[in-house]
């Protein structure tokens, strides 16, 4: 036990800043949502309007979760829980894989394993670290809600709900780490499990049954197969029930009880799934920098593209459904007309524009990740190997940036094609001022291309984010990761919660996405798009110049 505690201390020290950032960030997000709800939706009537819209809309249910009445706390929980739970799941899985399979792959585990400690001691320490991190996180979320003016009991239970989901994923990631041959594969699989939990819950929630007053929704059975769905069942601010959390914690304990003996008995580095052999010689494109850049990015790009395509499908398929639901409910239609202001745009289009906006951020994330891979190549010393060859830095950089730009294009295109295809199969939208597209709307082929164009409208803004990351890599390589992801997270928060947080216009203007045309609601505006593309070219040229004139190294 002493060795476990010693290892725990070492692991905690290694992670201290990283975990602190995750925990503080998630806690602050809770505070922001709670605070915004208090200031903007202080009255029950205001909350009731939003809840009614959400309860009647499968897409809202899919994205956010099921509403649980008009109570302020329940409103915050409904708005933030799914998102918070996903972040917590990612924090937990990355934490576990970092200290288990990734360490085994890098050889650090061998070093520790040679010390007089039981074979399973490092994993036991990691599980404890996961427990501690999630307890701290639960406290941070609870404090955020409390500071946002919510009742103590509900805030505490809501925090524990988030922490319990995290604990579940600590156990799940520990199991995945035993099965997968590499840290990369383990991280990908574990993160995919988190995404799957969100999607399964979303599906169950989307097919849930709303009550007569549209104040709450009973999720359908799929939600019972998702840990995030279980966490949601706790209903901390209304009919508080800690039993689902006990189930989550129980599963986590069970997983730990399985995983620790497995690690104790298996060989160091052994895994259920083995690394396959590959080709003994380079294939097509295997002898060029562009081919290498593509090779390194393609699998992660596929992940981003699939995520964007799912969102696109949802927007295309559910938009008309939502419009019909609103059309069948005159009081709701009136409500939305009031909320949306004078010129009521088509409900379906508002919804599609919002989802495609998120796919724009996903596209930027894919591109930023491709750019930051360049930094990883430099840090690992592989860049040195390449640039000792007769290829110039601009050429290598150009190959990387091309793949990054292509990633952005591929993700937005995937979203647009999926949305367009789904719209072909969805019921033709009913004509009318509030529903479907504008009266006498375009035929389905036009609609298809309109949705593809709507997704592509976010291309310039996404490219700006990528170009900023490129400049950060060239000018301040040590800060590239923070400068690459930071603005993107900021843009996502501004986009998702900017209206909710009631931020001033200039702050929202900081996000390039705020300058994208929100098609199909708005018309495409060429001027801001061209300005942004010009900025992309200038930023990329500046980055190339700066990279040419700096030292390379770790």
């Amino acid at each position: 036990m002493a060795s476990v505690l010693r290892l725990l201390r070492a692991q905690a020290r290694r992670d201290r800043w990283q975990l602190l950032a995750w925990i503080a960030g998630i806690g602050l997000l809770g505070l922001a949502i709670a605070g915004a709800t208090a200031s903007q939706f202080g009255s029950e009537a205001g909350r009731a309007a939003i809840v009614a819209v959400a309860a009647g809309s499968p897409a809202f249910l899919f994205l956010r979760g099921v509403p649980d009445g008009y109570d302020a706390g329940a409103f915050v929980f409904f708005n933030g829980f799914s998102f918070t739970a996903v972040l917590t799941g990612l924090m937990s899985t990355f934490l576990v894989v970092r200290h288990s399979r990734a360490d085994e792959e890098s050889g650090r585990a061998e070093l520790v394993g040679a010390a007089p400690v039981p074979r399973s001691a490092p994993l036991a320490a990691t599980l404890l670290l996961g427990l501690l991190a999630n307890l701290l996180l639960a406290a941070a979320v609870a404090l955020g809600y409390l500071a946002g003016g919510l009742p103590a009991g509900g805030s505490g239970l809501a925090g524990l709900a988030v922490g319990s989901v995290g604990l579940f994923f600590v156990g799940a990631a520990a199991l995945v780490a035993q099965l997968m041959p590499s840290g990369h594969a383990a991280n990908g699989t574990a993160a995919a499990l988190v995404g799957l939990a969100y999607l399964v819950r979303g599906t169950g929630d989307a097919f849930g049954t709303p009550d007569a007053t549209l104040s709450r929704v009973e999720p359908a059975w799929p939600s019972w197969f998702s840990p995030i769905g279980w966490g949601q069942l706790t209903r901390p601010f209304t009919e508080a029930d800690p039993v689902p959390l006990l189930v989550l914690v129980g599963v986590a304990v069970l997983l730990a009880a399985v995983v620790l003996p497995v690690r104790g008995r298996r060989d160091l580095g052994a895994s259920l799934l083995a690394e396959r052999a590959g080709r003994p010689a380079a294939g097509f494109g295997g002898r060029s920098l562009l081919g290498l850049a593509w090779r390194l990015q393609r699998s992660t790009l596929a992940g981003w593209a699939v995520a964007a395509a799912v969102l696109g499908l949802l927007s295309g398929a559910l938009g008309p459904v939502l419009a019909d639901a609103v059309a069948g409910n005159p009081s709701l239609a009136e409500l939305i007309a009031r909320l949306a202001g004078g010129s009521a745009p088509a409900i379906a289009d508002v919804f599609i524009a919002a989802l495609l906006g998120i796919t724009g951020v996903l596209a930027a994330a894919a591109g930023v990740q491709a750019v930051l891979r360049l930094r990883a190549e430099e840090e690992a010393g592989r860049l040195e190997l390449l640039l000792a060859l007769p290829r110039s830095r601009p050429r290598w950089f150009g190959a990387g940036l091309s793949v990054a730009a292509f990633s952005v294009l591929a993700v937005t295109l995937a979203a647009g094609l999926a949305a367009g295809t789904a719209s072909l199969f969805a019921d033709a939208p009913a004509a009318g001022p509030l529903t479907g597209t504008a009266a006498g709307g375009p035929d389905s082929a036009d609609r298809f291309w309109l949705l593809v164009a709507s997704a592509l409208a976010h291309l310039p803004a996404a490219l700006v984010m990528v170009a900023l990351a490129a400049l950060a890599f060239a000018a301040l390589p040590r800060l590239a990761v923070a400068l690459g992801w930071g603005p993107l997270v900021l843009a996502l928060v501004l986009g998702q919660f900017g209206g909710l947080l009631n931020l001033p216009e200039w702050a929202q203007d900081l996000s390039p996405f705020h300058h994208s045309s929100a098609m199909p609601v708005e018309d495409f505006a060429a001027a801001p798009a061209l300005t942004m593309l010009a900025a992309v070219v200038v930023l990329a040229l500046a980055a190339t110049f700066m990279l040419r004139h700096r030292d390379l190294g770790a």
Binding site: G278, R279, P280, A282, E384, L385, A388, P390
Partner: protein, 298 residues
């Protein structure tokens, strides 16, 4: 090597990283066709020098020419004739060894197919395995195969035999001899003295970012003292030649070091009937090395 063109010519190289001075006025000259050992302990600035020679980092001060060009302003032209093996070989974990070899040689213009197969066989490397599953030694071998599978005018090798077993080390040395016989120039950084002694015809020793000794191995040996151990038949008759260094006397045996210039005199003095045995050890690179690092006799 006077009269031959210098393939690598660096003078007064300075490289500062913040407050640390990794290179502090380094001079280095490598002549065409020689195998040049670049000796120094960890942290002396060997890898930094090689990165400057490749134009990966820019020297804070000083001039450098590689193959007649400035590597910072013309890296691509310089690299066309260079094969490089880094000191810390990091490869793409999801590529196979064969794919890495083809990538690295492909960017230089393509491997010699026959050479590639022969090298893979000699280094006993399975090209279908993912880099992730290779040991450190195997990763090193991938980098070596990639470097040797296409001819180059200059080979820059940063501690190339680290992680190789003795059999693979022999394969590596055979490759060095091959490229030397083909007329290529090799610069090997190392802290393994025996390796440099076996492979190299010239040596530069660096310490704290500065070259403290440079020249042909022969010339350097002349700078060093020969170690003598002389046993006399009659302990009472044991005498020390005049002017020698580090003399020790034990019963009828004396040990001492003699400068090259003293050798005729020492030998003359030892030409006596009561000398039972004389052992003379040639100056080793190790003693050369220790002189600069060990803080021994200066």
């Amino acid at each position: 090597m006077v009269g031959q063109a210098a393939v690598v010519e660096a003078s007064g190289l300075v490289k500062s990283f913040g407050r640390t001075r990794a290179l502090d006025g380094l001079d280095l000259s490598v002549a065409e066709g020689e195998v040049h050992g670049f000796l120094g302990p960890n942290g002396a600035g060997k890898s930094t020098t090689l990165r400057v020679l490749l134009g990966l980092i820019r020297p804070t001060a000083g001039g450098v020419r590689v193959l007649g060009r400035d590597p910072w302003t013309e890296p691509v032209a310089v690299h066309r004739d260079i094969a490089y093996v880094p000191g810390d070989v990091n490869l793409w974990p999801n590529l196979t060894g064969g794919e890495v070899v083809d990538l690295l040689t492909g960017l230089r213009g393509g491997a010699d197919a026959g050479l590639r197969e022969r090298l893979l066989a000699e280094f006993e490397l399975d090209p279908a395995r993912k880099v992730r599953t290779y040991s450190k030694g195997n990763r090193q071998k991938v980098a070596l195969v990639a470097a040797f599978a296409r001819r180059a005018r200059l080979y820059l090798l940063d501690e190339p035999s680290a992680g190789l077993d003795p059999l693979m080390d022999a394969v590596f040395r055979a490759q060095i001899r091959r490229v030397r016989d083909e007329g290529s120039t090799v610069l090997i950084s190392s802290h393994i003295l025996s390796e440099v002694e076996q492979l190299c015809s010239a040596v530069t020793i660096i310490r704290a970012g500065r070259a403290v000794e440079s020249g042909s191995l022969e010339a350097l040996r002349h700078l060093r003292r020969t170690h003598f151990r002389v046993t006399f038949t009659d302990p009472g008759a044991a005498v020390l030649p005049a002017g020698v260094h580090d003399a020790r006397r034990e019963n009828g045996t004396v040990e001492f070091d003699a400068d090259a210039s003293q050798l005729p005199g020492v030998l003359a003095q030892l030409a006596r009937p009561d000398v039972a045995s004389v052992e003379a050890a040639p100056p080793s690179l190790e003693s050369l090395f220790l002189r600069h690092y060990g803080g021994g006799d200066r």
